[in-house]
């Protein structure tokens, strides 16, 4: 699907041995040097020189239907693979359309390099056609961005972009490249030094702080290990598990931390927070030591800050110093790479039985498990997730939309390995699930990738289904279709007297939409058909498959810590208890 137009404004040279190259060729060569073999993006006027050089480049290229989709694909690709996701867009609207994707990646610390075209340098500031102040617009949603005004800086800046995106607390970096810089030629050197005097990465934690953390763990009678997505970004899952096992700690994770710890282990407390497990939330509120690793004490995790973990001393291991004591005052901060720090910590922690504490946790687990009415005659959304988990043996890569669908996926799918759940945690971007699934499937062609989505989330980016068809990606989409913006409706039910103001709209026949776009479409409105539909969905090997599950319309996510309440003030516990 490469552009056939070779008469581009660029007229960039064909690759020769000469060390004088056009900017567009330098971009391609630097991408290859950085190990890029896959990228996502959409062409346009001022990126034509670059796309011309891409014509012969050994890079797999996936074209989304909208740049936002492309950015989410790069994000899903990065989260599934651990590599930097690369996306390219043209100037103006192309660049603007990336912003939601960049903000999503920024909040969840996902390494992305975004390349955007820009109008010719001499036109900048003149309100030229398709001109936007891209670096201005994207500055708050990127870890770093800059515009390249001199072709001599191009290779260095792209190298810096990859380095910044993938080190420390990873994140998106955007490089804006005017048309004339892509066309301009310069001498190239094979090695150019990075110039980043203000960028420091501190991989090693302070030995004294690590010892202090170990001493606190060894002295603790009621510890909780609270794990965030940072452990997965740092590829520190093995170290985390070994440390938790050696010190004998109960483990709860954030939404993005799911998969860092095997949920089938008895020490797993599952997810904590607003829709976390009652046992995780109780344990956090009653613990005497909270060990946070690669987590940032987000408000959806802490509930009312003042009452959060009131009896606990707090250890915080994080690569980003600004995360320390941002929301919750930390007693023992350890700044550095989680992999390194956990490996050191393993040497210093000691096993303790903590019989009373684990007994108490077991009681909570027994009393308040995640549950739903399994005998209901309707299609319960939780049942769909349960069934997907059962038939995939808990091994699939799951992406999600945002809202109820996301919470049910987090509560009822059982994760056991890192990079298995791909979800927009911080920004909460509806429409993320489908393009993220495409990116994940591109990164992991041999795995089963399933987007557990909501109907309204799916509506936002469903055009990308055609991208999956075109690239023969057999992603699966399970729409938990309740005809509402489910989480909005839940809040309106609970806090706005059931006044369902603007929280529903008419949906298309998703099976027909899927078929029209070249995918397989299935509609399920009976409980008895759920299992068969999941089986059929999983058997599709070449085409995407969309299953429209018409689920119970007003099902709620339980438990729930209402906004502003503390973690132990959960609603819905009576419901869970009655179903236990």
């Amino acid at each position: 699907m490469k552009s056939r137009s070779r008469s581009s404004a660029g007229s960039a040279e064909s690759p020769k041995k000469s060390s004088v190259k056009a900017g567009a060729q330098i971009i391609v060569d630097t991408l290859l040097e950085q190990g890029v073999d896959t990228m996502f993006g959409y062409p346009g006027g001022v990126v034509l020189p670059f796309f011309d050089r891409l014509y012969d480049a050994p890079i797999k290229f996936v074209i989304p239907r909208h740049e936002q989709g492309g950015c989410h694909m790069a994000d899903g690709y990065a989260r599934a693979s651990g590599k930097v996701g690369v996306v390219v867009a043209t100037s103006g609207p192309g660049a603007c359309n990336l912003t939601t994707g960049l903000a999503t990646a920024m909040m969840d610390s996902v390494p992305i390099v975004a390349l955007t075209g820009q109008v010719r340098t001499e036109l900048i500031g003149n309100d030229a056609f398709q001109e936007a102040d891209t670096t201005g617009i994207t500055r708050p949603v990127t870890k770093y961005n800059c515009i390249v005004k001199d072709v001599n800086d191009l290779a260095r800046i792209i190298r810096e972009a990859f380095y910044i995106a993938s080190t420390g607390r990873s994140g998106p970096v955007l490089i804006d490249i005017p048309l004339d810089v892509q066309v301009a030629r310069c001498e190239t050197a094979s090695s150019v030094k990075m110039e980043l005097p203000g960028y420091r990465v501190r991989p090693e934690g302070h030995a004294k702080q690590i010892s202090a953390a170990a001493a606190a763990i060894n002295a603790s009678e009621r510890p909780v290990l609270y794990v965030g997505g940072g452990v997965i970004s740092a590829n520190a899952t093995d170290e985390l598990r070994a440390m938790a096992e050696k010190a004998h700690l109960p483990v709860t994770t954030t939404l993005l931390g799911l998969g860092s710890y095997d949920q089938s282990k008895p020490e797993s407390l599952d997810m904590l927070g607003m829709h976390g497990s009652a046992y995780a939330n109780y344990a956090v509120q009653e613990c005497d030591l909270l060990i946070a690793v690669g987590a940032r004490f987000d408000d959806r995790v802490t509930g009312k800050l003042k009452d959060f973990a009131p009896n606990a001393k707090i250890v915080h291991i994080d690569v980003d110093p600004s995360s320390i004591s941002k929301n919750v005052k930390v007693d023992i901060p350890v700044v550095g790479d989680a992999k390194h720090i956990l490996a050191e910590l393993i040497n210093e922690v000691e096993y303790r039985e903590r019989e009373k504490w684990f007994k108490k946790i077991a009681e909570w687990k027994k009393k308040f498990p995640f549950s739903y009415d399994r005998n209901a005659s309707t299609v319960k959304p939780q049942y769909v997730v349960d069934e997907v988990c059962r038939q995939t043996d808990g091994k699939a890569i799951i992406t999600t939309g945002v809202g109820q669908n996301q919470m049910w996926a987090a509560q009822f799918y059982r994760f056991s390995r890192p990079r298995q759940l791909i979800s927009s945690g911080g920004l909460g971007t509806m429409g993320y699930g489908l393009p993220a699934a495409i990116g994940a499937q591109v990164a992991r062609p041999d795995e089963t990738v399933i987007d557990i989505d909501g109907d309204h989330s799916f509506n936002m980016t469903m055009t990308e289904l055609r991208t999956a068809v075109e690239n023969e990606l057999p992603i699966k989409v399970c729409i938990l279709n309740n005809g509402y913006m489910g989480m909005v409706r839940q809040w309106q039910e609970l806090f706005y007297n059931k006044r369902y103001s603007k929280s529903y709209l008419s949906n298309p026949d998703y099976a027909n939409v899927a078929e029209a776009l070249g995918a397989v479409g299935i509609t399920v409105d009976k409980k008895a058909d759920v299992s068969g539909a999941v089986k059929k969905m999983l058997s599709e090997k070449n085409r995407p498959c969309v299953v429209d599950f018409k689920v119970e319309r007003e099902e709620n996510v339980w438990p729930m810590v209402p906004a502003g309440k503390s973690l132990n003030e959960m609603d819905g516990l009576d419901i869970l208890e009655s179903l236990a």
Partner: protein, 162 residues
């Protein structure tokens, strides 16, 4: 509490926007912000006066240090520093009032840098309190306009150094 933060930053386009944007996005209060070149053409110094409690300031320092082109961050709070503002102030000074006003300018070690039939323009520099005091002294005569640089600062040498 008022803190004077000194940040050494890379001298390239977008840095000021990045720092100012970060302050706005995180709802930090800037009292003043001054940018100027340093002895090294690759570096500029930003002197930022910020108001906030210890927790806010800890975040200000960390978030500032996190901005990629910011090379070094110092908070001068509690340290001996020389801090100075520069002000140009235009005061209503008809000839009959001048004998009264000129000694005041003298007292504040100000300099008359422009004089016309109705106004005098005065240059005053010094600690912020002195600048404020001079403004208050001038108020009864009528102030036409004020332009101030905001604070710049540098730590004093430690007296124990030999």
């Amino acid at each position: 509490m008022k803190h004077i933060i000194s940040a050494l930053v890379e001298n390239k386009s977008g840095v000021l926007a990045h720092v100012a944007g970060m302050f706005a996005a995180r709802a930090f209060n800037i009292d003043s912000l001054v940018v100027g070149r340093t002895e090294d053409p690759k570096l500029s110094r930003m002197t930022i006066v910020v108001i906030g409690d210890d927790r806010v300031l800890e975040q200000v320092r960390k978030q500032l240090a996190k901005v990629v082109p910011v090379v070094k961050v110092q908070d001068f709070v509690g340290k001996p520093v020389v801090a100075r503002d520069l002000m140009l102030i235009s005061i209503s000074a008809p000839p009959e009032k001048r004998p009264e006003i000129l000694p005041l300018i003298e007292m504040f070690k100000g300099k008359v840098v422009d004089i016309g039939p109705k106004f005098v323009m005065v240059e005053v520099s010094g600690p912020e309190a002195k600048i404020e005091a001079f403004i208050n002294i001038c108020k009864p005569y009528g102030i036409k306009s004020v332009a101030r640089t905001g604070t710049i600062a540098m730590p004093r040498q430690a007296q124990t150094d030999s």
